[in-house]
């Protein structure tokens, strides 16, 4: 699997800017890897936001009332299951307050290497 997953961040019904930054970078990575760019949208009543994530080839949306507000545990477990089910090559998580409560958990639960706050990268 050479897919690149981008975890979308949203607050009060809007996608945060960082989501678009990650999609831009994700597009580059996915193209370089020859895989798909997949957006991941977790929340409640957020399906409409998927339409704004046009750079992605597809968006996985997981909705439930329990996911209405960001919650480290609920979002963390949901994301872990999604990543486990699809085995992407790279998962991009925003380096934000919400992202900080998600990325490390994903790394531990799925035994994946983690690098935080890169501002540029190149494939080796």
């Amino acid at each position: 699997m050479s897919d690149v997953f981008v975890v979308a961040e949203h607050l009060k019904g809007n996608l945060e800017d960082v989501t678009f930054e990650l999609l831009g970078k994700g597009r580059e990575l996915a193209d370089a890897l020859g895989g798909h760019l997949v957006g991941v949208l977790i929340g409640h009543g957020v399906k409409g936001l998927a339409a704004q994530m046009g750079k992605a080839d597809k968006v996985i949306c997981c909705e439930d009332t329990i996911l209405a507000d960001f919650n480290p545990e609920a979002y963390g477990r949901t994301l872990t299951e999604i990543v486990k089910a699809h085995s992407p090559k790279v998962v991009l998580v925003p380096s934000t307050s919400m992202g900080m409560d998600l990325a490390a958990g994903l790394s531990v639960d799925l035994d994946l290497p983690l690098v935080e706050k890169p501002y540029s990268n190149s494939r080796g």
Binding site: E16, P72, S107, D111
Partner: protein, 255 residues
């Protein structure tokens, strides 16, 4: 209430940083270290909670050069117990390794809350707070600026961007990644630190088997490379906009 505060030290930026001969690390020969600022906040918040509700604060750190002084400084500020986790933890130790080592020791301790700094300047692969929470199977909230404890629950404020805050209720025991304490971290006079060295015992506990941890390694360390300089655009708003559009077109950036 029993609070654990894992702390680490980071290079003090009072001296200019140099890269060593290998090109993969800092030249540490003349480096001074000080407590990671966010861990200092975590310690302060722990001490404030102790002063409010009673209990005990334990500061823990992984073995590294000069760490004893950092731990004794925590005692001088009010930490009741000090634990140094022994093992091979040189600079550049991966966050996963550090978190596992701490988890090995912490799982044998009694505690209600673990407070640690949200991050450190030299963290490469993640933040200890959340890694540790997952190794210990604890609920966690990071980037916390306000903590209140009542019985078996803590109510915490988590900062989002744009000045938005969210209030969470967490069951204890829990891990909190501290962004800022309710007050500026207190200062410990050198005389108090000297007194702590004389009177506080520093317990050493071996990290034990940390196992093969998933991590990254530094391939190259370098100072920020300067760009080609900035161009100042002048003129009326319309003229400036035209110039910007031309620059964007010239650089081939697609809209």
């Amino acid at each position: 209430m029993n609070i654990l505060v894992p702390i680490k030290q980071v290079p003090d930026l009072v001296e200019e940083l140099e890269i060593d001969d290998s090109g993969k690390d800092l030249n540490r020969e003349w480096l001074k270290y000080k407590i990671n600022e966010f861990d200092d906040h975590a310690l302060e918040e722990a001490l404030q909670l102790k002063e409010e509700t009673g209990g005990q604060v334990t500061a823990l750190a992984l073995e590294s050069e000069g760490i004893d002084k950092t731990l004794f400084t925590a005692a001088a500020k009010g930490a009741d117990k000090l634990i140094k986790v022994t093992g091979d933890f040189g600079p550049g130790t991966a966050s996963h390794t550090a978190a596992r080592a701490l988890a090995n020791v912490i799982k044998n301790l009694e505690y209600d809350l673990i407070l640690t700094g949200v991050q450190a300047a030299d963290d490469r692969d993640g933040q200890i707070a959340v890694l540790l929470a997952h190794y210990l199977g604890l609920p966690h909230v990071s980037v916390v600026t306000g903590v209140k404890v009542e019985g078996e629950k803590a109510t915490v404020d988590k900062e989002y961007s744009g000045g938005v805050m969210a209030e969470f209720e967490v069951d204890l025991p829990a891990m909190l990644g501290i962004q800022a304490a309710r007050e500026t971290p207190r200062y410990a006079a050198v005389s108090r630190v000297r007194q702590a060295i004389r009177s506080t015992s520093l317990e050493e506990v071996a990290a034990g088997e940390v196992g093969v941890t998933v991590g990254s390694s530094v391939q190259r360390m370098f100072k920020p490379e300067t760009g080609e300089g900035a161009q100042i655009l002048e003129g009326s708003t319309d003229e400036i906009v035209d110039k910007i559009v031309n620059i964007i077109r010239e650089k081939g950036i697609k809209a």
